[in-house]
């Protein structure tokens, strides 16, 4: 299916717009270029609104505004009904023209801010080559849409380049599985044929049970086991779902935590550094104090050095002249005078001798007070001199120690700064939360895996029991001639059910294999770094694993461009399954893609447009010279979205 034409009436900025997607070249590429706010994304919203009645890509500003064009509201009379119409005209591979049309009627009241919704009508009009027309409305029309682009997996058809992160999430995988279930009509087998046949089978068995109590007894046992099987199957599905969810959350957590520091470790390290810093700072402060004391103490002495030096010289001189120490002992003379006896010879002092000794003492007293003082300061002065000599060595030692501590502190500061820098911009609590989620879901994953294994064993056990009980039941029913016809019917139903069940499994497996092979084929054909990746696996639950050349699943860590390519490849692979046939529309296709990969992706778009209709909505910045050079020649149409001066209406200009 390709979109031939889109007609928009009174839809948001589009008063009356028609876009023709004529395919003029071999490639089927159509490009819209528009600045933000010009309504470019509303083309995507219009398609969604027409097909699913919602607008998932609406901007914040647009959310405030009515869906009905503002100009139209302005022009309306009070109480007048105005309609919003979006028509998507498509053509299928079988040359069937299908038009999807949604029409919503709003009543405009002049006093009201928003027009009042009256009703919405959705219809699908299908015309075949022979000119037969069929019209489907509402529910039937919705079913029709589900055939082409199932709502659950629309994000694989209508991409938003800004939301690449949402692709391949667990919910998407489940949606895909369900959609494939529906599209490949496995659901028809499952919820209709199998379910109904099963009911009939049980009714027949019950009827047979009425014939003999033995049949009834064995039926009960058989159906008890069958019920157990049903429960265990549901449990297995539950565990599978749990595993898929936890695996996705683990992947998400790992992806979010990639390159993000381990906050707990860093915080511990920071605390350790902080304690070390505190200790070093304390040591530094102590050394600084010691140095201050040293400077103070030695400072006085150094400043006083000329005085100290002079005093030492004077004392030295006095010593040389034998002026110090005094030759006569003053205390001896004092003692002689006091005792009036010579302390040396023991002769008592006469008057004359006493007078002589008194005069001598008087003389000595005057000169010796200086000598005594000099004597008392002589030693301290020499000590001061010796002390001063140590100044340089001591101050150098201390300065060295201080510098070391300062360097250590600086180093610690740097380390702490580095940690702060690593942590800045991160929400510590959030990161801790992610780590805790990671652990929690790893446990859930492991537990579910274990329970899944056990349940699978249990399932096999029950299946064996069912076989035994079935045999017993068959033998019992065979005994009764009256149950002959019922037995045949039961047998027939049972066999049919086995075929249905097997067919369901085979189709799902085949589809998975087809999608896996196609995704792989396309991805490896288009990827620019072929040697980086090794394989793509898709499991029963449609979880995609992209295997790195080193052997690990790297889906969570690949860049936006690779992710977008994988999504595209996967989408194209989905299209190979019967029923999926839709164009691909990508809004802001290279928004999250680094400059180096934009051209790579441009080449991919160009390639894909050879096999599929592609509608790309670029901002002018995205549609760079490189991209323009690449895609201009490949595009059948290029439209420029321009907002008219009153800003209520967008016009599309063909470039």
């Amino acid at each position: 299916m390709r979109i031939e034409r889109i007609a928009l009436k009174n839809y948001r900025q589009f008063k009356n717009t028609e876009v023709l997607f004529n395919k003029k070249l071999e490639s089927d590429l159509h490009i819209f270029i528009g600045k933000n706010g010009t309504g470019k994304t509303n083309i995507l919203n219009a398609i969604n609104w027409c097909l699913y009645r919602d607008e998932p890509h609406l901007s914040k500003d647009s959310h405030q505004l009515p869906i009905l064009n503002l100009k139209c509201i302005e022009d309306a009379k009070d109480g007048e009904d105005k309609e919003v119409i979006v028509e998507i005209h498509t053509k299928t591979g079988e040359n069937k023209y299908i038009m999807f049309k949604r029409r919503a009627v709003y009543r405009v009241y002049k006093g009201e801010e928003q027009p009042i919704h009256q009703y919405t009508k959705f219809e699908v009009i299908a015309n075949d080559e022979k000119g037969n027309t069929e019209i489907f409305e509402d529910e039937e029309a919705n079913s029709y849409v589900e055939r082409f682009v199932p709502k659950a997996i629309r994000e694989f058809f209508f991409f938003d380049g800004e939301r690449l992160d949402t692709y391949f999430r667990e919910t998407t995988a489940q949606n895909i599985r369900h959609a494939i279930f529906v599209i490949s009509q496995v659901e028809l087998l499952d919820s209709r044929v199998e379910k109904r046949l099963n009911k009939i089978l049980r009714e027949l068995r019950k009827e047979a049970g009425k014939i003999s109590p033995e049949i009834e007894e064995t039926r009960k046992r058989l159906e008890e086991e069958e019920d157990k099987l049903k429960i265990i199957k549901e449990r297995i599905e539950g565990y599978k779902k749990q595993i898929a969810i936890s695996k996705t959350i683990i992947g998400e957590c790992n992806r979010k935590l990639r390159g993000v520091p381990d906050v707990s470790d860093l915080e511990d390290e920071r605390l350790r550094l902080k304690t070390r810093k505190k200790h070093t700072k304390k040591l530094l402060d102590e050394k600084v104090k010691v140095k201050q004391n040293l400077l103070f103490e030695y400072g006085i002495n150094i400043i006083m050095w000329p005085a100290i030096e002079m005093s030492i010289e004077k004392i030295s001189e006095k010593r040389k002249n034998k002026e110090i120490p005094p030759t006569i002992n003053k205390s001896l003379l004092d003692s002689i005078l006091k005792n009036k006896v010579c302390s040396i010879c023991g002769t008592p002092l006469d008057n004359k001798t006493e007078k002589n000794v008194t005069n001598l003492l008087k003389e000595i007293k005057l000169s010796s007070s200086v000598a005594q003082q000099l004597l008392s300061i002589e030693n301290p002065l020499y000590l001061l001199k010796e002390k001063i000599k140590q100044f340089e060595e001591k101050i150098k030692g201390l300065t060295h120690e201080i510098i070391n501590y300062e360097n250590e502190l600086e180093d610690l500061e740097k380390k702490m700064g580095k940690i702060d820098k690593s942590l800045s911009g991160y929400n510590s609590e959030k990161i801790k939360g992610l780590h805790s989620d990671l652990k929690k879901f790893q446990d859930v994953h492991d537990d579910s895996l274990e329970l899944l294994g056990r349940s699978k064993n249990k399932k096999n056990e029950i299946k064996e029991n069912i076989k035994i009980h079935k045999k017993i039941y068959d033998e019992e029913i065979k005994k009764e001639e009256k149950a002959r016809i019922l037995r045949k019917e039961i047998d027939f139903c049972g066999k049919s059910l086995n075929v249905v069940e097997k067919t369901k499994e085979d189709i799902m497996n085949e589809n998975r294999e087809i999608i896996e092979a196609e995704t792989k084929k396309l991805f490896f054909k288009l990827i620019w770094k072929k040697e980086t990746f090794q394989d793509i696996n898709i499991n029963d639950n449609y979880d995609i694993n992209l295997i790195h050349s080193m052997g690990y699943d790297c889906l969570g860590s690949i860049g936006a461009a690779e992710r977008e390519l994988l999504a595209l490849s996967f989408t194209l692979a989905l299209h190979t399954i019967s029923g999926f046939d839709s164009p691909i529309l990508i809004d802001t296709p290279v928004a999250r893609v680094s400059d180096e990969h934009r051209v790579n992706l441009g080449n991919v778009f160009s390639e894909v447009s050879n096999i599929k209709q592609m509608i790309l909505l670029f901002t002018p910045a995205e549609y760079s010279e490189d991209i323009s050079k690449l895609l201009d020649i490949k595009s059948s149409n290029r439209f420029l979205c321009k907002l008219l001066p009153d800003e209520n209406e967008t016009k599309l200009e063909v470039i």
Partner: protein, 143 residues
């Protein structure tokens, strides 16, 4: 014979200046969370006065600390200043004169010291003091 004083004096007006020494950690009085005694603060003021060769007679005296608090080492410094100032050891016999000399140096020195602290941006007095000491040390003739 001169009277032996029992205390060292400062000029009454200098008390305020001594209080200002608390702005510099190295010189802060122990009552203000520092490590210096009044005697030590006096000695540094005296040293600064001596270094600048300025003596200022005290206008009004205020007892600052007791002579008995002086250690032999301090006394040696004080005596050395007196000897240096008078070029004679004889001054040592006159304790009153010795203390008067150092008090006058301290009176001049405290103002110079406070000026120094406040003229240098906070935190760098210590660095400058260290540099000056290093310069003086390198010029010293120590045998």
């Amino acid at each position: 014979m001169s009277r032996v004083p029992d205390r060292i004096n400062i000029d009454k007006k200098d008390r305020e200046l001594y209080n200002k020494l608390d702005h510099e950690e190295m010189l802060r009085h122990k009552d203000k969370g520092g490590r210096r005694t009044r005697k030590e603060q006096f000695l540094i003021a005296m040293a600064i006065g001596f270094r600048n060769k300025i003596r200022r007679p005290l206008e009004s005296k205020e007892g600052w600390f007791l002579i008995k608090d002086l250690k032999l080492e301090d006394e040696a410094l004080i005596d050395s200043i007196a000897v240096y100032s008078t070029h004679s050891v004889d001054v040592l016999s006159n304790r009153e004169e010795v203390f008067k000399i150092v008090e006058e140096y301290a009176h001049a020195g405290i103002r110079l010291l406070v000026d120094k602290i406040f003229s240098i941006s906070h935190g760098s007095f210590e660095k400058q003091f260290e540099n000056e000491l290093n310069n003086m040390y390198s010029e010293m003739r120590l045998s």
